[in-house]
């Protein structure tokens, strides 16, 4: 089975916006459209945020406020590993009687991988295990916030003007107040979805967006333009002669992970809060159904919905579904536009192959009747429960070294087990089978001379 161990041997063609060939283990199968989908023809959405070390869930709004960082966990500034809190006992004078000393616990951060500790950069030990550690403040925060506010206001104004111009041309009964273009302008400066929310219950009118704006902040924000300096600080005199203390120099990666300060010396590398990871859900672009939806709990790796292609589409003639499936193989004709990679001609068996259904209890059921399919021994090599092995003839077309690749089309019947939207009136009608055709490319390996 090429599915898990040698993934690139058998490639399936996906008809999306781009023609993508990829192994079945990376594909999804939309059972509403009855088509294969690859990662490039689905839309990726953020499902939830969580911290990879403390596995704490965080709602999206809170994550945005904290700049997608965890509040409790830190990263080592030296090797980017997760920092752990260690405790030591230090003697400290009692508050009542300064002459006696008692053992108090002091906590410091340490990295198990590169042995960095918070004492290396001069951070004092804290008396609480968590919550005592602060990131140093960026001296430019105020200026940056002011700039962000100014540009947000500018973006709003631009958007309003653009909307006004568009609305002057539109008829009043058109429901869309926001064009696609203005939404992108709003997102340009990170305004978020504030302007897109409508009052609940009110109909979406073309002028609703404008009225939302006028009630809110009208104050003008002025910023001072940045001032250019004529003189720059000169380099120190021993710049070329001073010997470099190599352990003190930070690497580019260490420096750029702290864009606020970008310290050149290792003694200024402060730990940063750990970045959050996301769980994503996938959605088919044509029918808007979810193909993959993970569980909300960060400790769970299961999925609420997971429509992986391996569970629905035929593998190299192992039948994953529980019904009997009929398969026909058809070679690609001359001039087939999808047949670009094959370097050999293939003669596939022309008869229809029948595969038994997958039966999980078959291994344990000793009294099962042997399956009675009349197999032509020239075509079928072996048959075992839901697997079948068959012969194909391959004639390589080229003599040079390279992999022999053949392509053909598999046509099989598929029963959609999704619940019908409208219950059929005749009672329990059996689900109809539809025929699916997939273009498959099989890489057989190099030619041995």
């Amino acid at each position: 089975m090429a599915s898990l161990l040698q993934p690139d041997r058998v490639l399936y063609l996906v008809h999306g916006e781009k023609k993508i060939r990829s192994p079945l283990s990376t594909l999804y199968f939309c059972r509403y459209c009855s088509e294969l989908r690859s990662l490039e023809c689905v839309s990726h959405e953020v499902d939830s945020h969580y911290c990879p070390s403390c596995l704490e869930n965080m709602p999206s709004a809170e994550a945005k406020l904290k700049k997608n960082r965890c509040a409790n966990c830190f990263d080592c500034p030296c090797c980017m590993h997760t920092l752990s809190t260690r405790a030591t006992n230090i003697p400290a004078p009692l508050p009542d009687d300064p002459s006696k000393t008692t053992m108090k616990k002091a906590y410091y951060l340490a990295c198990g991988f590169c042995r960095w500790t918070s004492r290396d950069v001069g951070m004092a030990d804290k008396s609480v295990a968590s919550g005592g550690w602060q990131e140093p403040d960026n001296p430019h925060t105020q200026r940056i916030n002011k700039l962000i506010e100014y540009y947000q206001q500018l973006a709003q104004r631009e958007k309003l003007e653009r909307d006004r111009k568009k609305l002057a041309r539109r008829r009043p009964y058109m429901p869309l107040a926001f064009s696609q273009h203005t939404i992108h302008v709003v997102e340009k400066y990170g305004l978020g979805t504030r302007l897109q929310r409508q009052r609940p219950g009110a109909p979406i009118t073309s002028l609703a967006g404008l009225s939302l704006k006028e009630g809110e902040d009208q104050k003008e924000i002025n910023i001072e333009p940045a001032q250019a300096l004529d003189e720059v600080e000169p380099l120190p005199e021993d710049c070329y002669t001073r010997p470099i203390n190599l352990p003190e120099v930070t690497s580019l990666r260490q420096r750029l992970l702290q864009p606020d300060f970008q310290p050149a010396g290792a003694s200024q590398l402060h730990p940063k809060h750990k970045h959050l990871l996301i769980k994503r859900s996938l959605r088919c672009r044509k029918c808007e159904h979810n193909l993959s939806k993970p569980e909300f709990n960060p400790t769970s790796i299961k999925f609420k919905i997971q429509l992986v292609a391996e569970c629905q589409v035929l593998l190299t003639l192992t039948n994953p579904v529980e019904n009997i499936t009929h398969v026909t193989l058809v070679g690609c004709e001359e001039g087939d536009p999808e047949d670009i990679n094959s370097t050999a001609k293939v003669m596939v068996p022309t008869k229809e192959l029948v595969l038994a259904g997958k039966d999980a209890a078959a291994d344990y059921d000793e009294l099962a009747e042997p399956q009675d399919f009349q197999d032509d021994p020239d075509v079928v090599a072996f048959r075992k429960s839901n697997k079948i092995g068959f012969f194909i003839k391959v004639v390589p077309q080229r003599e040079e070294d390279g992999d022999v690749t053949v392509s053909f089309k598999i046509r099989h019947d598929f029963r959609n087990l999704a619940a019908p939207i409208r219950p059929s009136e005749e009672g329990d009608a059996p689900t109809e089978a539809i025929w699916l055709t997939h273009h498959v490319e099989l890489s057989l390996g190099p030619i041995i001379a």
């Binding site: 030296c78 090797c79 991988f113 590169c114 042995r115 960095w116 500790t117 004492r119 290396d120 352990p247 290792a266």
Partner: protein, 193 residues
């Protein structure tokens, strides 16, 4: 190993805990308060090995004083060089050390690999799976870590593992037989292997 000049015995000082299942070959001296776990191997092929006090040598660690690669074992004129290991070092599980001179308070983490021409001073930490085979003296308090063997200097040396040593010296004799130690005052008696 058939050299008649040096006696083929291991001198284990009193207070050291050396398990019988460890393999000690050649002229090896082990100081007091050192713990050698079962399945550790200390092999003095091309010269004697002197191990100081308070060291912790864990399972499957290999400390070997072997011949350099370009010299055949039987060639004449090869002087045996002594390998010296200081005090309070830790050789973690599965590491291999051929370094001729190791100072104090070093930690050689699991599956690390030290070449013959290295000299460790004190407070050095050779990270897990790091293979270091250069011809240099590692400065004090250096940490070598990562797949690319990056280095950095730490501000404080690693603490000696006194708690762990005390614990092991109490517990190991309950479950393993120990090799015989020599009395410090009397003459050298052959140790039972």
């Amino acid at each position: 190993l058939g050299d008649t000049k040096s006696p083929l015995i291991a001198k284990i000082a009193a207070g050291a805990v050396v398990c019988v299942e460890s393999e000690i070959r050649g002229e090896v001296t082990i100081g007091a308060r050192t713990v050698v776990h079962p399945k550790a191997r200390i092999i003095a092929e091309a010269g004697p090995i002197v191990i100081g006090e308070g060291n912790l040598i864990e399972e499957q660690a290999l400390i070997i004083n072997s011949y350099p690669e370009n010299i055949a074992p039987d060639s004449e004129g090869v002087e045996p060089k002594t390998m010296t290991i200081g005090i309070n070092n830790v050789f973690e599980v599965g590491c291999m050390s051929q370094a001729l001179k190791i100072g104090d308070n070093n930690v050689i983490e699991s599956k690390a690999d030290l070449g013959r021409n290295m000299i460790l001073t004190s407070g050095c930490i050779i990270g897990a799976c790091c293979q270091v085979n250069t011809c240099e003296v590692i400065p004090e308090n250096t940490v070598i870590f990562g797949s690319g063997c990056q280095r950095r200097v730490q501000t404080e040396r690693p603490q000696p593992q006194t708690l762990q040593l005390d614990f092991l010296m109490k517990i190991l004799p309950n479950y393993h037989h120990m090799k015989k130690t020599v009395k410090t005052t009397s003459a050298v008696t052959p140790a039972k292997n």
